[in-house]
C-alpha cells in the first residue's frame, strides 16, 4: 500500500472508489430492470403529468358510505370501572343513553358504517377505466412525479384545508373518491381519506390499501402473464361543467384505456393474495354491537392510559403487543366473538394497522375498528377513573 497522501495512494483510492461505483451501477441497473416495481428511466404513463379534461362527477347517486354527522355527545351511562376481567368472562355492555330524538330538520343518522373503507387495485381498475371514480394520490408531489397510477390526481395528505376545499368544490362531496399512497406500510391514504370524509363531508370515499406498489406489482405480473388486450375505443371526454374552475387542478390525466383494460375472461394465473382489512365502525354503531354479548371491546392504548380510565368491559391489548401476546389474547375467545378495537385519537393509522394485525391473527374474521378515538367519546360525566 503506498504511503497515504502520496500521489500513488490518491490514485489507488480514486480507482478503487470508481470500481465500487461502477460495480454499483452494474448491479443497480441489473436489479432495476428485473424489478417489477423498479424505476423506469423513460417517461411512462406513470410519470406523465399532462393536464386533461376534467372527469365528470357521476350522475347516479353513489351507493353506501354516508358520513354520520358528528352527534351531540350522548353520555354513556358507564358503570364504575372494574378491574380487567378474566379472559374467559365476556364483558357487560355499557348502558346506552339514547341520543336526542330526531326532529323534522334533523334527519336521523343513517345506520351505516362511517369513515373510509378499504379497497384494492383490482376493484378500482375497472371503475377508473370507466371514469366512474376519482383516483387521488396522497403522497408528496415529488413521489407523484416519480411515478403514479395513470389518471390519478395529486393531492398530498399535507395539503392545506383550502386545497381540500377546492378539491371538494371541483368534484363534489358525493363523488366516488379512492385515495392511495405508496404501499401497505404507508398510512397517508387512510389519513387523507378520513380527513376528506370527516372534515369535508365526502360520503363515498375509499382508500387503496396496497398503494402504488400494488399497482406496480399487478401491472408487472399482468405484463408477463396476460396477453396485451385489444384496446377499447377511447370515450370522448365530456366538457367540464360550467360551474367548475379548470385552473384549480392541472394534474388530471385522461385515462388511456389501452393500458389498463383487461378482458374479464383472462384471469391472472398468479393472483396476489387478497389484502385482509378490518371494517371501520363508529361509536354509534359500537353501542349497537355491544348489545350482542359476543362483542369485545379492545383498548390498544398504552397500559398506563388504560389503567387511568377506559370503557367498562374493554380489555387491554396495547398496540405494541407481540404476536405471541396477541395469540394469547385471542385464544380464550370463541371464534364467533367480534373484537372492536379502539385507540386514543381519531383517524389514527395505528388503530387501523393493529386491527388488521389482529384480523390476520384471527384468520380474517371478527375484527372491527372504531374510526374515532377514545378521546372523542370520553366526554361523558359517567366516565370514572379506574380504582
Amino acid at each position: 500500500m503506498p504511503q497515504p497522501h502520496s500521489p500513488n495512494w490518491i490514485t489507488l483510492v480514486i480507482s478503487r472508489a470508481a470500481a465500487v461505483v461502477a460495480l454499483s451501477a452494474v448491479l443497480g441497473f441489473a436489479f432495476n430492470s428485473s424489478n417489477p416495481v423498479g424505476i423506469r428511466l423513460q417517461d411512462t404513463p406513470e410519470t406523465q403529468n399532462k393536464p386533461a379534461a376534467l372527469a365528470k362527477p357521476p350522475t347516479a347517486p353513489p351507493p353506501t358510505l354516508a358520513v354520520t354527522p358528528t352527534p351531540t355527545p350522548a353520555p354513556l351511562a358507564i358503570p364504575p370501572i372494574a378491574p380487567q376481567p378474566s379472559a374467559s368472562t365476556l364483558p357487560t355492555a355499557p348502558a346506552v343513553t339514547p341520543g336526542p330524538a330526531p326532529t323534522a330538520s334533523t334527519p336521523p343518522p343513517p345506520a351505516t358504517v362511517t369513515g373510509p373503507s378499504p379497497t384494492t387495485w383490482a376493484a378500482v381498475k375497472p371503475k377508473l377505466d370507466a371514469e366512474k371514480l376519482i383516483l387521488v394520490d396522497a403522497r408528496a408531489k415529488g413521489a407523484y412525479d416519480s411515478g403514479h397510477i395513470p389518471g390519478a390526481i395529486s393531492l398530498p395528505e399535507s395539503s392545506s384545508p383550502e386545497d381540500l376545499a377546492k378539491f371538494k368544490a371541483q368534484f363534489g362531496a358525493d363523488a366516488h373518491v379512492v385515495v392511495y399512497c405508496s404501499s401497505t406500510s404507508c398510512s397517508l391514504s387512510f389519513k387523507l381519506a378520513y380527513k376528506l370524509a370527516k372534515d369535508h363531508g365526502f360520503t363515498n370515499i375509499q382508500y387503496m390499501t396496497g398503494g402504488y406498489m400494488e399497482y406496480q406489482r399487478e401491472m408487472g405480473l399482468n405484463a408477463n402473464t396476460i396477453p396485451t388486450p385489444t384496446p377499447a375505443p377511447s370515450p370522448a371526454a365530456p366538457p367540464p361543467p360550467s360551474n367548475l374552475q379548470p385552473s384549480v387542478v392541472t394534474s388530471v390525466k385522461v385515462q388511456t384505456p389501452s393500458q389498463s383494460v383487461v378482458p374479464p375472461s383472462i384471469a391472472n394465473p398468479n393472483p396476489l393474495p387478497p389484502t385482509i382489512n378490518p371494517q371501520p365502525t363508529s361509536w354509534a354503531k359500537v353501542d349497537e354491537l355491544l348489545s350482542n354479548p359476543k362483542t369485545v371491546l379492545v383498548d390498544i392504548r398504552p397500559p398506563d392510559d388504560y389503567r387511568t380510565s377506559h370503557f367498562a368491559g374493554a380489555l387491554s391489548l396495547p398496540a405494541t403487543a407481540s404476536a405471541e401476546r396477541i395469540a394469547e389474547f385471542i385464544k380464550p375467545h370463541a371464534p364467533d366473538v367480534t373484537f372492536v378495537v379502539y385507540g386514543d385519537f381519531s383517524g389514527s393509522a395505528k388503530t387501523f394497522q393493529f386491527a388488521r394485525q389482529l384480523l390476520q391473527a384471527r384468520n380474517g374474521s371478527g375484527v372491527r375498528f372504531v374510526v374515532d378515538g377514545y378521546n372523542d367519546r370520553k366526554a361523558s360525566p359517567a366516565s370514572t377513573p379506574s380504582k
Partner: protein
C-alpha cells in the same frame, strides 16, 4: 501519530464499534431504499435539487448499491480507507441536500421510522415531527460525517504506521549500522 490527534487517541478503542455501526447503518439504508425504489426516487424529487430527472433516476438506481457495497466492505474490513472516503463523500452530499432543504423550509417527511414502539404518536407528537424533519436529518448526517472523518483519520494513521515500519525511509540515516548498537544518547532519525 501526529500530536494534534492525541486528544482523540483514547477513543481509538471504539474504532471497531463505530466502523460496524456505520456499516450496519449503510446496509439498513440500502435495504430500505431497494425495497421501495419508487418511494426513494420520490424522496429525491422532494428535495427539489434542480437536477435533470434522468440524473435523479440514475442516482436512485445506483446510490443504494453504493451504500450496500460500502457497508459490506466496511464490515469485512476490505479497502477500508477507500470505503470510508467514499462513505464520507456520500454523507457530505446528504448533508448538503438536507441542509438546503432545511434552509428552504421544504416540508419533507420520509416516514421512515415507526415511533409507535417508543410510545410516541406520529400524528400528534412534536418530537416525532422533529425526528422526521430535514433539520434532524441534517444534524444526523453531520454527526455521521464527523464519525466517518475520524474513522478515516485513524485508518490513515494505521496505514502510515505500517508503512513507516517497512519502507526504506524508516531506516535511520546515522552512520551507525544498527539501531541496537547505537549509543543510548543518539536516537535514530526518522523522516516524517
Amino acid at each position: 501519530m501526529s500530536s494534534h490527534a492525541l486528544p482523540l487517541s483514547r477513543w481509538r478503542s471504539s474504532e471497531p464499534v463505530l466502523r460496524c455501526f456505520i456499516a450496519l447503518l449503510l446496509l439498513w439504508a440500502a435495504v430500505s431504499k431497494l425495497s421501495n425504489p419508487t418511494e426513494f426516487l420520490g424522496s429525491i424529487y422532494a428535495y427539489e435539487l434542480g437536477l435533470p430527472k434522468t440524473v435523479l433516476k440514475i442516482t436512485a438506481i445506483v446510490l443504494p448499491w453504493v451504500e450496500l457495497l460500502c457497508g459490506l466492505t466496511l464490515l469485512a474490513k476490505v479497502w477500508t480507507e477507500t470505503t470510508l472516503a467514499t462513505s464520507l463523500a456520500l454523507f457530505s452530499v446528504f448533508v448538503l441536500a438536507t441542509g438546503q432543504a432545511w434552509a428552504r423550509g421544504l416540508k419533507i417527511s420520509c416516514g421512515c421510522f415507526d415511533f409507535g414502539i417508543l410510545g410516541l404518536d406520529k400524528d400528534h407528537s412534536p418530537v416525532v415531527k422533529f425526528l422526521e424533519s430535514p433539520g434532524f436529518a441534517f444534524i444526523r448526517n453531520l454527526v455521521l460525517c464527523a464519525v466517518l472523518y475520524q474513522l478515516l483519520r485513524w485508518a490513515l494513521s494505521s496505514c502510515a504506521g505500517q508503512n513507516s515500519s517497512t519502507t526504506p525511509d524508516s531506516i535511520p540515516t546515522s552512520p551507525v549500522s544498527s539501531p541496537r548498537s547505537s549509543s543510548p544518547n543518539r536516537k535514530p532519525t526518522r523522516r516524517k
